[in-house]
């Protein structure tokens, strides 16, 4: 199987690289918008396509659900009763 990889044409590598770049950039921007660790997630997005995107979506959308604080507008965890940034009580 590995010997076949040597015969992969160069344009295939370029297509994969472009896809990786698009994926990583989107993950980076989304992570920075959500206040996640953007450099870590962006580098993570560079390693694999598309499984890392799926992992990213699962982690940020399902595992770490967030909501916005009514008072300071920052992203906080959905299960929190008090905002960790401004200390106000949130429902």
């Amino acid at each position: 199987m590995l010997s076949e990889i040597k015969e992969v044409p160069i344009f295939m590598w370029i297509i994969i690289a472009t896809l990786l770049l698009i994926q990583a950039s989107w993950i980076f921007y989304d992570a920075s918008k959500r206040g996640e660790r953007k450099w870590l997630w962006g580098t993570f997005g560079l390693l694999n396509v598309p499984s890392n995107l799926i992992i990213y979506l699962i982690v940020t959308r399902l595992v770490m659900k967030t909501k916005k604080c009514d008072y300071c507008n920052k992203n906080i965890r959905k299960e929190s009763y008090f905002c960790p940034y401004c200390g106000k009580e949130v429902n």
Binding site: A17, L21, F28, K33, K38, L46, N73
Partner: protein, 141 residues
């Protein structure tokens, strides 16, 4: 009520604002002219009432803080876009290097790296999530 009364009224306003003296001429006019006297009393009454009022305008702190939040968001968005460009530049360099390596016969190693990341990540991820939850204090249930 002639034109002179209008003039006196202007002067009375100035007196109320303490910009002119309450001189004899005006005193004499007020004695004779009931209209101007009434006007002067009204002015005085209004001034007293205004002094008693709390003249400080209400400040809407909620609105002000919202404006600050919006300004922060715009600033954050700008810096996010800046760092996105830095990231894209760095990753383009990285991917060019990888593609060059792959084309020059290192594709086997790259595939091995891919396979190892596939195997390792499912083990690392729960650990990282747990660590973060601990850092943010959500594991105290």
């Amino acid at each position: 009520m002639g034109k002179s009364c209008e003039n006196y009224k202007d002067i009375l306003i100035d007196i109320i604002y303490e910009e002119k003296d309450f001189n004899k001429d005006i005193k004499d006019h007020l004695k004779h002219c009931d209209n101007c006297m009434k006007y002067y009393k009204e002015l005085k009454d209004t001034k007293n009432r205004l002094n008693n009022l709390n003249t400080e305008p209400p400040i809407e702190y909620r609105k002000i803080s919202k404006a600050f939040i919006k300004a922060d968001e715009i600033k954050k968005k700008k810096s996010n876009i800046k760092s996105l460009f830095v990231f894209m530049l760095l990753s383009t360099i990285f991917l060019t290097m990888v593609v060059t390596l792959a084309v020059n016969g290192f594709s086997k190693e790259i595939i091995y790296f891919q396979i190892s990341t596939y195997v390792i990540f499912p083990f690392i991820l729960p650990f990282m999530i747990k660590k973060r939850a601990k850092k943010e204090g959500y594991d105290a249930k």
